[in-house]
């Protein structure tokens, strides 16, 4: 008996699938145009998603480099330096503190400038101060965190000066949030457009198949039985639109990649990335979900009369 219920469910679904494809085939021009339009619309949404993802990725990538460098007063003894380092390490938001002696600083400078340079050779005395390199705990790696930690370090005795990439980070984060806001606004508008496109094709389908729906109802089809193929049609159209968008985005990404890669790698040493498998599934699923909502709306409106 259980088995037969499952089997009956399977036969119903089989019928719905056939009926949905039959419906789309019957209005293949409208459905095709709808799917392509949804595809193009979702390309725009997807492009913004990719942009925001990659911008955020950059912040994560050089999150370790989001450091504060605190230069120490020249008269701080090495004991006091150790002491200061420990106190900074205990501050909230601080992950790690690295002491850099003047000798180490000079050595780094030499190696970064190159051995051929004789600029430093005449120096009797090392002009570079001792410093602390302070990295932030992960949750503080933002402009706000940077500011908060900087302020508390500044208040300590023995600190001469502080350098952080704060302005730069703030600007960058503002850019991300701007892109995200634009993307969100555009996404909402385009999602509504997708809903309307699907709703309209489904509405046309309901009208053009009204005699079939009447007969189905007369031979005892339930409300759900009559509606299911239309919902499925909406899901398939939205999902197909999402898949097309994904394919277009991937093609564009692959085309643009060589240029982007060299540019970005020079700055941060990381290549831009495309959607992961699960994110790709979400793009297609998002299209399908929009299709479902659109067709449900059309059904609610279309069967009211």
């Amino acid at each position: 008996m259980r088995n037969s219920i499952w089997l009956r469910g399977f036969y119903q679904v089989l019928y719905f699938v056939r009926s949905a494809f039959r419906g789309m085939w019957a209005s293949r021009l409208t459905s095709g145009v709808a799917v392509l339009t949804i595809g193009v619309v979702l390309v725009l949404v997807g492009a913004f998603l990719l942009l925001v993802y990659n911008m955020e990725e950059l912040i994560d990538e050089f999150g370790n480099e989001l450091q504060i460098t605190a230069y120490l007063d020249a008269d701080v003894s090495s004991d006091a330096q150790r002491d200061l380092a420990a106190r900074v390490a205990a501050l909230p938001g601080v992950d790690e503190v690295n002491q850099v002696s003047p000798e180490q600083a000079l050595e780094r400078f030499r190696s970064s400038v190159g051995s051929g340079v004789r600029l430093l050779e005449g120096l009797d005395e090392n002009p570079l101060p001792a410093s602390l390199e302070i990295s932030l705990s992960p949750e503080q790696r933002s402009a706000g965190g940077l500011a908060a930690v900087s302020v508390s370090i500044e208040g300590l005795e023995g600190i001469a000066d502080i350098r952080s990439g704060r302005e730069w980070v703030e600007g960058y984060l503002r850019a991300i949030s701007l892109v995200r806001t634009i993307g969100l606004g555009l996404g909402v508008i385009l999602a509504l457009a997708t809903l309307l496109i699907v709703a309209n094709t489904i509405r046309l389908g309901i009208i053009s198949r009204s005699d079939e729906l009447e007969i189905l109802s007369l031979v005892g089809a339930s409300r759900g039985f009559i509606r299911a193929p239309f919902l499925l049609e909406g899901v398939l159209q939205g999902g197909a639109g999402g898949a097309i968008a994904l394919a277009i985005l991937f093609a564009l990404f692959e085309l643009a990649l060589p240029g982007l890669e060299s540019g970005l790698e020079m700055i941060v040493g990381s290549a831009p990335r495309f959607f992961s498998t699960s994110e790709s599934i979400m793009v297609v699923g998002g299209g399908a979900a929009l299709g479902l909502i659109g067709s449900a709306g059309a059904l609610a409106a279309g069967f009211r009369s």
Binding site: Y11, A26, V219, S222
Partner: protein
């Protein structure tokens, strides 16, 4: 007005259809049916006669919930249609086969697909549906028309397709609205024999017709309505069903 008196509650609990004082009007001031009471037993066959516009189709529509009565009660297969919710109508319809006066065939589907529609709504397996459709089409002499489209068929053939769709589900009630209107005399006899046969196997049958020849030949109970009123309920002597 013989026989109408039997349609009171409590009598004939094995009735497939019971109507109590049912009235229906489509527009204010007009009546399609007025104060109709009747009872139909399981496996009973009845002719519904009357002039055009008398209310025959309206009565059938009330029985499968295509229209709601303004007044009165209608009990079909134990369910009170007047009080039934929207979602309870489809399951009831799946137990009733209807031959529509205008056939209501889908021109975009083949004969076999049209007939199978009545099985699809019951979640029948494709194999079983194919077998049943084949059997009923053969019974109605339409097996060679299986893959044709309704518009390529004669009126009589379309009518038989409509009957095939009504019967393919082995319904408990068959409502046939002028099922022989487009058939030649020989075919009329064949089709009516088939319909009468389903009554013998336990299906309650209502055949709306204005062909009095037919009514005479088959000697079944006959309801006559005129102007929406049930004016005659005649049971032939010596033939209970």
């Amino acid at each position: 007005m013989r026989g109408v008196g039997s349609a009171v509650p409590g009598i004939g609990s094995d009735a497939a259809i019971r109507m109590y004082h049912v009235s229906k009007s489509y527009m204010a001031g007009t009546t399609a049916l007025s104060d109709v009471s009747l009872e139909l037993a399981k496996g009973e066959m009845v002719f519904l006669t009357g002039p055009s516009g008398a209310g025959k189709t309206t009565l059938l529509k009330l029985l499968f919930g295509a229209e709601r009565p303004d007044e009165g009660q209608i009990v079909v297969l134990g369910r009170n249609i007047a009080r039934l919710g929207e979602s309870a109508i489809p399951p009831l319809r799946r137990r009733i086969g209807v031959v529509f006066q205008d056939f209501k065939l889908l021109s975009s589907r083949t004969v076999a697909e049209n007939v199978a529609l009545a099985l699809h709504v019951t979640a029948c397996s494709p194999q079983k549906a194919r077998a049943r459709v084949f059997a009923i089409l053969k019974q109605l002499g339409l097996q060679h028309r299986r893959d044709h489209y309704p518009l390529a068929l004669s009126g009589g053939e379309q009518q038989r397709v409509a009957l095939a769709r009504a019967l393919v589900n082995e319904p408990e009630i068959l409502l046939a609205d002028e099922p022989t209107g487009n058939l030649d005399p020989d075919l009329t006899v064949d089709i009516m024999d088939l319909i009468a046969g389903t009554a013998l196997r336990g299906t309650s049958v209502v055949v709306a017709t204005h062909e009095l020849e037919l009514v005479k030949r088959y000697r079944k109970r006959t309801l006559r309505i005129e102007g929406g009123k049930l004016i005659e309920d005649v049971r032939p002597l010596g033939n209970a069903r």
